[in-house]
């Protein structure tokens, strides 16, 4: 062994190319290195649904509009636009180019939107284009894709007819499903489109130069990007793909990556190492969804109110979640949503809930007599198979047992099976969450409308539906927000859900990297405007 060890050591040193020893952030070359938590499953914007794909796409593609560093909508491919109740017009900048040097035209948007809505594309996010006239009918195969209410008046003018007043349409166009696709290129690839780096062309700030599946993705500054002078980074290299947070923390400690998200476990390590820990509100709300199907015991309002009365949001956030950045769950609508002038929750505060065991017990007794039983059967709490989900479920189980003497049976299921059980209604309570698809309160508001397929507890309330419709059919902020306030009231009074918390995540960022933007909607984290300082 004495001879082997030094030998191995020499071999290791010899085998090292200089490249793999490079540091996470390099000032000279303006290069940053990252770890992705999974391989982006789908870089075809028409079909992307997951966070990693959306994050990568946000760097290599650009829609008509985009978000700036403060999360406001700014011009992207479109220089300017006008939106009224019936239609929207976008004037495209003539210098927006694809990475092959060709111009991005209005036709690229028409093609992309029509293709996304074509039933055979089977896009899961097609619904987000339903704001456009005839979109839903096309997606259901009732109309031809050519009937879509979108028209390229010339190469640089895009006219969109709206299905209904959509004040936030310019925000929708920043979303990946609205990104342009060049017809000529797409048709040269078809099923292979976006399968590899060579099966994509880009109109964003960066171009993908290399993609080794499940291993690495390399982005280089796109020399054809119209706003290239504002882009400081020359390269973003995701050299590692792993879902293991501890491995990513180790890479961060070793100065191999500039960014990593922490979980409860790695948080403690990061604290010990005295790293600066940053937090960010993801904009998602997590809640317990009740099964409102009439044959279910949770269809009983008093029972749901009893559970609501004993829930202790502060204890949940501080003791169970126990990482910084999470907020008390109080409403279906998270605090970051805009209202008419200020934040919605400032203008229309949610009722503040304080745990009240006596009230809970009274309500439960009333529920029992209403149901005609002396003891309720165990309620099934359906949760995902992550350790965090199990911990949260066990807390709720303990809480309801000690406060209400309610028995909870925890049903831990894999992701797909949990969804299957949610959809078929095989649960009493289910741990669920909702993240925003676009930057408007409606992305949360219509969740419990009777027609919403994501309303898996089958909550059905004509009043709720009516207020959703009121907000949908109006572009007057006051009318819409008043309707949303009614929804907030109904969700509370009818105990539609039990809001648990608004999610905050914690992460580490390389101290020499500035200008990284965290986005609630769209590409997150966004390194487009980042730079390495000395």
């Amino acid at each position: 062994m004495n001879t082997i060890l030094p030998f191995l050591f020499t071999v290791i040193l010899l085998l090292h190319s200089h490249h793999c020893l490079a540091e996470a952030a390099d000032f000279e070359t303006q290069t940053v290195k990252l770890a992705l938590n999974q391989e982006p499953p789908q870089l075809n914007g028409m079909k992307a649904t997951d966070q990693v794909s959306v994050m990568v796409l946000g760097h290599i593609m650009e829609g008509l509009t985009r978000y700036d560093r403060r999360g406001r909508i700014i011009p992207g491919v479109a220089e300017r636009w006008e939106v009224n109740d019936e239609e929207a017009t976008f004037w495209l900048r003539p210098n927006a180019k694809w990475s092959n040097g060709e111009t991005v035209t209005a036709h690229d948007f028409v093609f992309a939107w029509r293709t996304t809505l074509t039933p055979s594309t089977a896009s899961e996010y097609a619904f987000i284009l339903y704001a456009i006239k005839n979109a839903e009918a096309i997606n259901q195969g009732k109309l031809a894709p050519e009937e879509l209410g979108v028209e390229a008046l010339d190469d640089f003018t895009l006219k969109v007819e709206l299905e209904r007043p959509t004040a936030y349409f310019s925000k929708l166009t920043a979303f990946v499903s609205y990104f342009p696709i060049q017809e000529k290129f797409y048709k040269s690839r078809l099923d292979r489109y976006a399968a590899d780096a060579s099966d994509l062309i880009f109109n964003g700030a960066f171009a993908m130069t290399d993609w080794v599946h499940s291993a690495s993705i390399k982005l280089k500054k796109n020399p054809h990007y119209w706003n290239r002078d504002k882009i400081k980074l020359n390269a973003i290299e995701a050299d590692y793909i792993t879902a293991d947070t501890r491995a990513r923390l180790n890479l961060f400690i070793d100065n191999k990556i500039i960014f990593t998200r922490l979980d409860g476990e790695t948080y403690q390590d990061a604290l010990t190492r005295k790293f600066r820990i940053r937090s960010f509100s993801t904009g998602s709300v997590f809640f317990i969804e009740y099964n409102h199907r009439p044959d279910r015991i949770t269809a009983n309002l008093l029972l749901r109110q009893a559970i609501q009365a004993v829930y202790n949001a502060d204890e949940f956030v501080n003791k169970v979640l126990a990482t910084p950045g999470n907020l008390r769950g109080e409403s279906l609508f998270p605090v970051w949503l805009d209202g008419t002038e200020e934040k919605f929750r400032t203008e229309y505060p949610a009722p503040r809930l304080e745990p009240d065991t006596d009230l809970g017990r009274r309500l439960l007794n009333q529920a029992k007599s209403q149901l005609g039983v002396t003891q309720l059967p165990p309620l099934v709490l359906l949760v995902g198979d992550s350790p965090t989900a199990a911990k949260q479920a066990e807390y709720l189980q303990g809480l309801l047992k000690s406060k209400l003497n309610l028995d909870i049976k925890i049903d831990i299921q894999t992701f797909k099976q949990r969804l299957a059980k949610m959809t078929s209604g095989d649960f009493d309570l289910v741990g669920a969450g909702w993240g925003p698809d676009f930057d408007d309160i409606m992305t949360f508001g219509d969740l419990f409308a009777s027609w919403n397929l994501n309303n898996r507890g089958r909550y059905n309330n004509p009043d709720y539906d009516r207020f959703v419709r009121t907000a949908m059919n109006s572009s007057i902020p006051k009318v819409r927000m008043d309707a949303m306030a009614e929804l907030q009231r109904i969700v509370h009074e009818d105990a539609v859900i039990l809001p648990l918390y608004e999610q905050g995540v914690i992460y580490l960022l390389h101290p020499k990297v500035k200008g990284v933007v965290r986005n609630v909607v769209g590409s997150d984290p966004d390194f487009t405007y980042a730079r390495v300082v000395q």
Binding site: L15, P119, H213, S214, I241, K416, T423
Partner: protein
């Protein structure tokens, strides 16, 4: 010999068919819906997805379509990466897993044979006790613990050196492979050590060893020429299946060391109910395992002439 190989190959094909069929049935029995995702989709989109993957047909028909495609060597398109063929996934990622697995088995075999022989020679003395204690650790501690510890060790080495002298994760050069393959091989190494030890102990008391000693051969020559060669056969027997097991069982190590191997597709496909990837990877690994067993059977003949005679 040829008819022996032919017989083994036919048995192997039947085994693979059985694996494919059993996996197909099990996969469809697993509750959950492969096409279901966080955002619910309308009935029309759902139908289009079902058509794309042929899930709208009866299960029996799906089975025959699958078998037909499999005979042509086509496993279809992944459900989660809708523009990648399962064949491409296997082609891209199996070489990585195989490289890692072969290195791991190399470490395991080298260590296992060495430690096993040492424990047998020093039976019930200090080296035996220490090594056997480590072996029990190696067998009982799960690989994710070793993986995490191994990576932490690398981090600390780099911190101590003040610069990165060895990568803590990633894939590319041999220096990326050392720690993960050692971690991956630990369990097998422990297993082989035990096997080697007992097999060595059997051999030590054989008459021909006494003869060799009586002839006045040097202990080293007795060890290599007579003891090791006779004791190694059981180790070779398990080595084949172990190679297959290690290449398939690298999921945790691949995750921790960010290695683009097939192991993570194998495991994640089951979690995500990615039917085509489940079938593709399982049948492929099944075939690989069967092949390894056949190779070992053939290798026997070369190592032990007695097998050839039968």
């Amino acid at each position: 010999m040829l008819s022996y190989i032919a017989k083994r190959l036919i048995a192997g094909l039947i085994t693979i068919w059985f694996i494919a069929t059993a996996t197909f049935i099990a996969m469809h029995l697993v509750p959950g819906d492969p096409l279901m995702n966080q955002k619910a989709v309308s009935a029309e989109i759902r139908l289009n997805l079902e058509r794309k993957y042929g899930l709208n047909k009866p299960v029996v028909e799906q089975y025959f379509i699958f078998m037909g495609n499999m005979l042509r060597g086509d496993f279809g398109i992944s459900y989660t990466q809708q523009n990648r063929k399962v064949n491409d996934i296997i082609k891209d990622h199996f070489p990585v897993s195989a490289t890692l697995g072969i290195l791991a088995v190399f470490f395991a075999a080298l260590g296992g044979i060495l430690w096993g022989a040492i424990t047998a020679i020093y039976r019930n003395r200090l080296p035996d006790i220490v090594i056997m204690f480590l072996v029990i650790l190696g067998i009982s501690v799960p690989s994710f613990v070793f993986a995490a510890l191994g990576q932490l060790l690398l981090v600390n080495i780099n911190q101590f050196a003040g610069q990165s002298i060895i990568p803590v994760a990633g894939w590319g050069s041999l220096s990326h492979m050392l720690m993960p393959s050692m971690v991956l091989g630990l369990g097998t190494m422990a297993l082989l050590t035990r096997l080697m030890r007992s097999s060595m102990l059997d051999v030590v008391n054989e008459d021909y060893i006494k003869t060799a000693k009586a002839k006045g051969l040097s202990p080293l020559r007795i060890f290599f020429k007579h003891q090791l060669r006779n004791a190694i056969l059981p180790v070779i027997t398990v080595l084949g299946p172990q190679i297959a097991a290690i290449t398939t069982g690298g999921f945790v190590v691949e995750l921790v060391f960010a290695i683009p191997g097939l192991g993570r597709y194998f495991v994640q496909a089951v979690q995500q109910l990615d039917y085509t990837v489940i079938m593709g990877t399982t049948v492929f690994y099944g075939a690989f395992l069967v092949l390894m067993v056949i190779v070992v059977d053939i290798l026997y003949g070369f190592i032990d002439p007695r097998v050839r005679l039968q």
